[in-house]
């Protein structure tokens, strides 16, 4: 086949792929809504949610995970474009991680020696480590689906930010239930849950986002 012939066939095809931003919103928002309903109906929101939102150290949990999720989602949209591999800058994610670690260090300093271990282990570690990955499945899946409709040229990085985006947002939703307000607890265990999901997402992305 001559290239001119191919061009003629291509030019006759007027169907275009989806708008990726709209597609991601249309997939991610319902997925997150469902996650919120799941937390509310199975675990229940914490009773003092209103008061907790006004307590900086407690609100920081939702803020940090939420910002991580939104920043990573924006990066995922960038990486869905072929030139995204060159234009996407990952430092905002590192900034969020640095803020979380700073908070952890501060909590370590201000928590009395004898209370540290209890604050770190908490009472709901297992729930946290199970719930956040479970809640992440659908949002991360939606991100991967959108990325596959795009033209990813950095599959490893795209899988990585998709994992951070989905698990960050899911962790923010889980925080509506969780009453563990010490950064010693939440930076550690939320962080571990997010890292686990992100690792899996990165590994899947590296394979499945090629085209």
């Amino acid at each position: 086949m001559k290239t001119d012939d191919l061009i003629r066939a291509l030019a006759a095809d007027t169907q275009r792929g989806p708008d990726l931003r709209m597609m991601l919103l249309a997939g991610l928002l319902p997925a997150l809504g469902l996650a919120a309903v799941a937390v509310w109906s199975v675990l229940g929101f914490r009773v003092d949610l209103g008061a907790a939102m006004l307590t900086p150290v407690s609100a920081a949990r939702i803020l940090l995970t939420g910002i991580l999720g939104i920043a990573a989602s924006r990066l995922a949209l960038l990486l869905a474009r072929p030139e995204g591999g060159h234009t996407a800058r990952l430092w905002p994610l590192a900034a969020v991680a640095a803020a979380a670690l700073g908070l952890l260090a501060w909590a370590y300093q201000t928590t009395p020696d004898e209370a540290r271990q209890m604050a770190t282990v908490g009472k709901t570690m297992t729930t946290c480590l199970v719930a956040i990955p479970l809640l992440s499945i659908l949002p991360v899946g939606m991100l991967h689906y959108t990325l596959r409709q795009g033209a990813v040229t950095a599959p490893l990085r795209a899988g990585f930010v998709a994992g951070l985006a989905g698990s960050g947002l899911s962790a923010a939703i889980y925080a509506l239930h969780c009453t563990e307000d010490s950064p010693l607890f939440y930076v550690t265990w939320y962080g571990l849950a997010i890292a686990g999901v992100t690792l899996v997402s990165t590994m899947i992305g590296a394979r499945s986002l090629r085209w």
Partner: protein, 181 residues
């Protein structure tokens, strides 16, 4: 060169707004440049081999054209797809190459020759499509029949032909990937 590139943006924007002729002109005007890049990178493949790779790149550009952000310059977008597909195509043929994007600027300055070649791979792939899809691609591509006339010949509506054509092109890209791996 800069004028050309501006023109690409305008043509592609018009194409995205539904102007099929602008789209054909866009593809025609990027093709020599992309051919120059492929040849510069894959001289060892021979002319026909390079044309195969070029057609792969064009198919990818076509199927991924919704990922171009209207506000962004066309060139980085186009070259990123080209680079990805060229590396992929050469890897699939057992050759590892490095395609730094900066290199493209020099390649562009060298004007590529006229379109001389018949490429073999795409015809093979079309042969692997189901009968009707293959016929639609051949009629529109090789014979230059319009979508409406193709529909009449195959007793299909124009819309159905367009849907079938789009599916066929997507399938070609998938076949291509499998064939190559």
């Amino acid at each position: 060169m800069a004028e050309d590139v501006d023109a690409w943006g305008q043509l592609l924007a018009a194409a995205n707004a539904g102007d099929a002729r602008a789209y054909a002109r866009f593809l025609q005007s990027v093709t020599p440049v992309l051919r120059g890049i492929v040849r510069a990178k894959g001289g060892g493949l021979g002319e026909a081999g390079c044309e195969d790779v070029l057609q792969e790149v064009l198919l990818a550009v076509h199927l991924k054209r919704h990922t171009w952000d209207q506000g962004a310059p066309v060139r980085p977008w186009l070259y990123a797809i080209t680079r990805y597909k060229v590396v992929d195509a050469f890897r699939a043929r057992g050759r590892k190459i490095d395609v730094p994007i900066e290199d493209f600027a020099e390649v562009l300055a060298a004007e590529a020759g006229p379109d001389p070649t018949e490429a073999a791979d795409m015809a093979k792939m079309i042969g692997m499509l189901d009968g009707r899809s293959a016929e639609i691609v051949r009629k529109i591509g090789l014979e230059g029949v319009s979508v409406a006339e193709t529909g009449q010949a195959l007793t299909m509506s124009e819309g159905a032909v367009r849907v079938a054509l789009h599916r066929a092109l997507k399938t070609l890209a998938i076949l291509r990937e499998r064939h190559v791996k």
